[in-house]
């Protein structure tokens, strides 16, 4: 193993720090008083300066020194981190990145300009700011509303949400006073709450939440001081004044859990114990050590790739072994083969999980994209993200960057109206872009949603006809019409801006996603916005498949797409001849005869099977001669020569050394549905 170049390590490390710096700066824009963010930014700058000079990046160190000095002043409270300062620091951060990645190409005069600007802002902003508030404090907030609170228009849940907005909150409901069902008044509020809140805001901010009901309700706000995550429940209860310390002592002599005992003894109600338990948990989470960066190891990506390849080969070798063991009479061989199969599957899962990374890191980069774009285009945009913890194969994530940037640009540039347009449409000035990721079966769905003007069908049609992509007046489904925007050379933007609207891109986006064996769904409501959903497979390398036989050839269907297998009775077959529909519990499912599709010459098996597969919301049946069983599949890509064969997505090697082709389900489903539509159109 060759020793890594410390310079390279520094460059990698600096990348991480620059990302941290950027995130902290963007967050600071919304929370300028947050001391922790200022510290993060300062630390990142400090480390880059320090390490930079050690590893020969003198220019970086010298430049960063000035930025660090500025942030030191911010940290001391001498300068407020206003918008201007954040903006110039972001520029400085970009310059630092350039200095680190490609020192020769960096423009030193640009650096000088940034520093001069920084100097100017520092002098202008030298007015002292209010002392930054101390770190978050924990409060115990007891809430009891008057019974009729909901009838007079106050929704307690909204207030609890507002409370959650102040900081990290643990809410315990006090339900002791809820009457039994036969006497309950469903419009009255019988529940009280106890909220453990850790917030940097002063207690008056907590009171302000309850401004309108303050006079009628009971609200107690006490700081939680002396309890720590280790404080025993009994002690918390007695500190809270819910129970005497003698009662706790007495209870402790018994061997059951303190809470249960106190309740049984009638010393305290179950509600109070639950609230105290919630407090204990709240503090535990506060004190829980954050997962530290030191517990991870950096490994070059290509070594992971090698590992994955080798595991893939191992899976193939193992399936050969299984085949030998199945026909062998030797019990010992059989048991070893089983053991190895189990281990190989575990090894495969572990190796795949190493390659899985949360998509949050990728999403994080888009905050800057949105920030810069909203400024350049003069549109106010709020970006919300969901499902950042969703994991996806690292190679997939890397290739998603460009398509997602393009889609986000499109959403902001074309989707969102300008402020005047939004006002005219009666929408709030602030436009929303939502980026979400979630798992769905064997797929990961990533969606980009905007609340803009939506796609204009007429313009898409006009453009497609003008470009000769669509015959004039041809009837197409709404979905097909929207998909036109993915055609090469398509662009409907009335004005070409520097950001989008050149008509390059959407087709590239589609190609990239299809290259990842994924698909793109489009939804758009005129006036209300659009949603683009990318459907991606969890991993690129290995899938669980269903092995089937058609004629002499064997084929693999991704198991995640298989819904069920049914027999195609001769009767049913005869009835639907020419129409090829199968009645599955009342649903008409079109089916494709793979024998016909693949032009098999051998005689068909007397009992044909239908494998029902799905893609998105659509289903289609595939008629095969035999269903062989499940099969671990390492995907080998097809040669360039076969790249145009749309119904196949790859190939795999079977245990006996033969090649089996992997069917491309989305394309087959699409093919089946198109045929169904044609048949319907034909009557």
């Amino acid at each position: 193993m060759k020793a890594a170049d410390p310079k390279e390590i520094f460059q990698q490390e600096a990348q991480d720090l620059l990302v941290q710096l950027e995130q902290a700066l963007l967050d600071l824009e919304h929370a300028p008083a947050d001391g922790a963010l200022i510290d993060t930014a300062f630390r990142a700058l400090h480390t880059i300066k320090g390490s930079g000079s050690m590893f020969g990046f003198e220019a970086v160190a010298a430049f960063t020194h000035h930025v660090e000095t500025a942030f030191d002043k911010v940290r001391q409270g001498a300068i407020a981190p206003n918008r201007e300062l954040i903006m110039i620091t972001l520029h400085a951060r970009d310059h630092m990145r350039q200095l680190i990645e490609n020192p020769e190409a960096a423009d030193s005069s640009a650096g000088q300009a940034i520093l001069a600007e920084l100097q100017r802002i520092m002098e202008a902003g030298a007015a002292p700011v209010a002392a930054t508030p101390a770190g978050p404090a924990s409060y115990r907030v007891r809430i009891a509303f008057p019974r009729d609170v909901m009838a007079t228009g106050t929704n307690p849940l909204l207030l609890l949400d507002e409370l959650r907005g102040l900081g990290r909150a643990t809410v315990a409901a006090l339900t002791d006073d809820v009457p039994t069902l036969d006497v309950i008044d469903p419009t009255a509020c019988h529940v009280g709450w106890e909220v453990m809140l850790s917030t940097a805001q002063p207690p008056t901010a907590i009171e302000d939440v309850f401004l309108f009901v303050r006079d009628e309700m009971t609200l107690e706000i006490e700081p939680i001081r002396d309890t720590t995550p280790e404080t025993p429940l009994g002690e918390i209860l007695s500190q809270r004044g819910d129970v005497t310390s003698q009662a706790v002592e007495a209870a402790l002599h018994e061997q059951k859990r303190v809470g249960e005992l106190l309740v049984e003894a009638g010393a305290v109600s179950p509600d109070k114990v639950n609230a105290a338990l919630a407090e204990q948990q709240h503090l535990r989470r506060d004190g829980a050590p954050k997962p530290s960066a030191n517990s991870s190891v950096r490994v070059p990506a290509e070594r992971l790739g090698e590992l994955m390849d080798q595991v893939g080969e191992l899976v193939i070798a193992q399936s050969r072994l299984r085949q030998i063991a199945t026909v062998s009479a030797d019990q010992q061989v059989k048991s070893v083969a089983e053991e190895i199969e189990r281990l190989v599957l575990e090894l495969r899962d572990t190796t795949m999980s190493i390659r899985m990374v949360p998509i949050g890191a990728l999403f994080g980069r888009f905050r800057r994209v949105v920030h810069d774009l909203s400024r350049d285009l003069g549109k106010e945009v709020a970006l919300t993200m969901e499902g950042e913890e969703t994991e996806l194969d690292k190679t997939v994530i890397e290739q998603l960057n460009d398509p997602l940037v393009h889609l986000i640009r499109n959403a902001i540039d074309h989707g969102l109206e300008d402020p005047a347009g939004r006002a005219a449409a009666g929408k709030p000035q602030l436009g929303h872009i939502k980026l979400a990721a979630r798992h769905a079966g064997m797929e990961v769905l990533i969606s980009i949603q905007d609340d803009g003007r939506g796609m204009n069908r007429e313009r898409i049609r006009a453009r497609a006809e003008e470009r000769g992509l669509l015959a004039k007046g041809a009837a197409v489904s709404d979905g097909e019409l929207l998909q036109m925007i993915f055609q090469p050379g398509f662009s409907t933007a009335a004005q070409v801006t520097s950001l989008s609207g050149r008509g390059v891109g959407m087709d590239v986006v589609k190609r990239t996603i299809e290259g990842l064996r994924g698909a793109i769904d489009l939804q758009s409501t005129p006036g209300h916005g659009s949603e683009v959903t990318l459907r991606l497979p969890l991993t690129l390398a290995i899938i669980d498949g269903l092995l089937v036989r058609v004629g002499n050839g064997r084929y693999v269907l991704p198991l995640g797409a298989v819904e069920e297998c049914v027999e195609l009775s001769a009767q049913e077959d005869a009835r639907s001849r020419g129409r090829s529909f199968l009645n599955i519990r009342g649903d008409l499912v079109p089916y494709l005869r793979l024998r016909e599709l693949f032009a098999c010459q051998t005689p068909a098996d007397p009992y044909q099977k239908v494998v029902i597969v799905s893609s998105g919301d659509l289903k289609v049946g595939l008629v095969v001669d035999q269903v062989i069983g499940d099969h671990q599949t390492v995907i080998k890509s097809l040669s360039k020569l076969h790249a145009d064969v749309e119904m196949l997505s790859g190939a795999t090697i079977l245990g006996d050394g033969a090649v089996a082709l992997i069917l491309d389900i989305p394309h087959l489903v699409e093919f089946g549905q198109v045929r169904e539509e044609n048949q319907r159109a034909a009557g």
């Binding site: 909901m150 228009g153 309108f212 009666g426 709030p428």
Partner: protein
């Protein structure tokens, strides 16, 4: 769906200011010039929120709130008062009658917006 707000005030300039602020933020605003008209409008349609002045000719704010709260469609609908500091007594009466919250006049458009968002939970 845009949230609908009924604003009841006898001052035209006040109504105009409320309309501009709330409509600009995407709410759908309906105006009424006094309690009688306000109550009639509220009877005809269930609004998401009612914003009312207290001192008005004819039926005043407190009586209107009492009547509105009798309507089954207005259980749980926030009713916000526009009141002055000196109106403490009326404010208390209105609260008893079923008002949800209040905004003290004079107020800035931002205050109106933040209270609206608060009671509508946005």
């Amino acid at each position: 769906m845009a949230k609908t707000i009924l604003t009841v005030d006898d001052s035209a300039s006040m109504r105009q200011m409320i309309r501009m602020t709330l409509a600009g933020a995407g709410y759908e605003v309906t105006e009424a010039i006094d309690g009688t008209q306000g109550l009639a409008t509220a009877r005809g349609k269930a609004f998401d929120m009612v914003l009312t002045d207290l001192n008005m000719p004819g039926m005043d704010g407190v009586s209107m709130i009492k009547e509105i709260r009798k309507l089954s469609t207005y259980t749980g609908v926030p009713i916000v008062l526009l009141t002055t500091e000196s109106d403490a007594e009326k404010k208390a009466q209105a609260k008893t009658a079923g008002a949800t919250g209040w905004i003290t006049k004079p107020f800035q458009p931002e205050q109106l917006l933040s209270v609206t968002k608060k009671v509508l939970g946005q």
